[in-house]
């Protein structure tokens, strides 16, 4: 299987480089032509405004939003994923989520925050290296103290809030190769992918004037490209290169504990308000509207998924309603700062339909084993949301300057770059790891379960 893969890989490599270069050219052209202002401009590191002071209300909300986003990973995502695997692999999921949260925290402090948000060398209207990567000037949070302010909140809060995004994104990928990947390979993959895919995409979208997507004027309020598409594509690449689980297709690889999954889904749901309404970085009307549309999209998608199942199979399932809710939450993410209730309903429904197709029909047609549907839900949901965010956005400051066609093209371009970038980085890293440390545990260890073979523990003793 190595030979054809490496061939395909080189083809893809060439293609990817060409596409990236082409898109870059296009980006520069479009930028100079349209010179739009970024709608996601509130999402910036506003280190440039030294006179600003702290607002206690905004700070209160942002501290809580930070806590809510961490809650999404620990225990939200950990349980959502943990319930879906078999008994013998539950602890492997939990350890992976805890380990990811811890490692990403340290890396974020060390260089992540700087590579993502340092604005050194960036200039409005100019595309250069720093449109892709931030500088290392803020590495180890140098220059940040108790008194540092970012917008109307302490910079420490901004750093921690963004850290929680950097935690959940690589952790999302874990679901794609659950139940079979080596612990060491999985950690290495996530660390390298974080460095070379999460950080640059985050920088392109959210670091302000001079950043690639921001210059285009992308609408990505809380992370459609940065978080969900980015992770979804990495998941797809990983599950294909790691290979299917033993027994995939032959035996039912069904959830061992559905209540655990629904607890996790609930926590993702409530935490997501921190994710979306928190991305406003203030306690104001936009945050309030983000709260409302998040709830609407999640509900619409949960209902749609339930309805599809009820019609198709007669049995609306618990895993279904939870997956639907998550699909809706994913899709509203990029749009949550700019759509109204009607748009949220539409995005929720659309996301449920597309993700349902992806997680059932598409997956079984193409035959990849994306264990917990990272691509089907986050990848596809993110794409649906990112594109519809353009369509349903209420333009800021009046409609005259808002060009729907152009905006949709901007959204598409950003989605495409994210797909290519994340896919490219993922494939390279995985191929290297495959040759070196190896991606999979042994057949016997997989049979025994990762809990016992890798972690020396069992989840439950009766």
């Amino acid at each position: 299987m190595n030979m054809p893969l490496s061939i395909r890989f080189y083809r893809r490599l060439t293609a990817a480089i060409l596409i990236i270069l082409g898109t870059l050219a296009l980006g520069v052209a479009t930028t100079t032509l349209s010179a739009q202002e970024s709608i996601s401009a509130e999402n910036l590191l506003t280190a440039a405004e030294p006179a600003s002071t702290i607002d206690t209300g905004d700070t209160a909300w942002m501290i809580v939003a930070t806590i809510l986003v961490l809650f999404m990973t620990l225990p939200g995502l950990a349980l959502f994923y943990g319930g879906l695997v078999r008994t013998k692999n539950i602890l492997s999921i939990l350890v992976q989520c805890f380990a990811m949260a811890s490692i990403m925290t340290v890396l974020w402090v060390a260089y992540g925050y700087s590579v993502a948000f340092n604005t050194e060398g960036m200039e409005a209207g100019v595309i250069n290296l720093h449109s892709f990567f931030g500088g290392l000037g803020a590495a180890f949070l140098s220059g940040m103290g108790v008194g540092s302010v970012s917008g109307t909140i302490p910079e420490s809060v901004f750093v921690t809030f963004q850290m929680t995004f950097a935690i959940i994104t690589p952790t999302l990928i874990v679901g794609a190769f659950a139940e079979r990947m080596k612990f060491s390979a999985m950690l290495l993959f996530c660390v390298i992918w974080f460095t070379f895919s999460y950080l640059p995409i985050c920088h392109m979208a959210w670091s302000g004037d001079g950043a690639l997507f921001a210059e285009w004027g992308v609408i990505d309020f809380a992370g459609g490209t940065v978080v969900h598409i980015n992770a979804g594509i990495a998941g797809l690449a990983a599950c294909m290169l790691v290979g299917k689980r033993r027994g995939f297709g032959a035996e039912p690889l069904t959830p061992h504990n559905v209540p655990l999954t629904l607890i996790g889904a609930s926590m993702l749901w409530v935490g997501w308000f921190g994710f979306n309404a928190g991305s406003e970085l203030a306690a104001d009307g936009t945050a309030g509207m983000a709260l409302l549309v998040t709830q609407i999209a999640a509900s619409a998608a949960a209902l749609a998924w339930l309805g599809i199942e009820w019609i198709k199979t007669g049995t609306p399932t618990a895993v279904g309603v939870a997956t639907g809710a998550v699909a809706g939450l994913v899709a509203i993410t990029p749009a949550s700062g700019s759509v109204g209730p009607a748009g949220a309903l539409a995005i929720g429904f659309a996301s449920a339909f597309c993700c349902y197709l992806a997680a059932t029909t598409l997956k079984s047609k193409l035959g990849y084993d994306d264990s917990l549907d990272v691509f089907g839900v986050h990848g596809i949901g993110g794409i649906v949301g990112a594109i519809l965010a353009g369509c349903f956005s209420i333009a800021e400051g009046g409609t005259e300057s808002f060009n729907l066609g152009l905006q949709t093209w901007v959204q598409l371009k950003s989605v495409l770059i994210t797909i290519i970038w994340s896919g490219f980085v993922s494939i390279i890293v995985l191929l290297v790891l495959k040759k070196t440390v190896g991606l999979r545990v042994s057949e016997e260890d997989e049979e025994t379960g990762l809990d016992l073979s890798t972690h020396g523990e069992t989840g439950y003793t009766h």
Binding site: P252, T317, V319, Y356, T360
Partner: protein, 112 residues
């Protein structure tokens, strides 16, 4: 002394236990088992894919009875466990060569 081994539907356990008590069976041991037979399994659904679950939850009752109670026991079991629908289960009678009560030193029928 015989060992009577019956596989029944789980929700009949209570009724069976009472029926056996009535005819003088004083002890029994129950195991949760999964059965495979003529009764078809059910389908479960996970993210749109259906899986057939072949094994059905059943309960296995084992009781050692003196020879003269065997046919009454079998009869009581049949009456109490029957629903008339497929999957009601089986009764097997096996020979026991010796029996002991752990607490005392009783053996044979006295040990039951």
């Amino acid at each position: 002394m015989k060992l009577i081994k019956a596989i029944i539907k789980p929700f009949k356990l209570e009724e069976v236990k009472e029926a056996l008590s009535e005819i003088g069976v004083e002890g029994l041991t129950v195991t949760e088992v999964k059965g495979f037979g003529r009764q078809k399994g059910h389908t479960e659904i996970y993210r749109g894919s259906e899986y057939t679950v072949d094994f059905l939850p059943k309960v296995m009752i084992e009781t050692a009875v003196p020879v003269d109670l065997v046919s009454a026991t079998v009869q009581a079991l049949k009456m109490a466990a029957r629903t008339g629908k497929i999957g009601d289960g089986k009764i097997f009678v096996l020979p026991i060569e010796a029996a002991f009560r752990i607490r005392t030193d009783e053996t044979g029928d006295e040990a039951l």
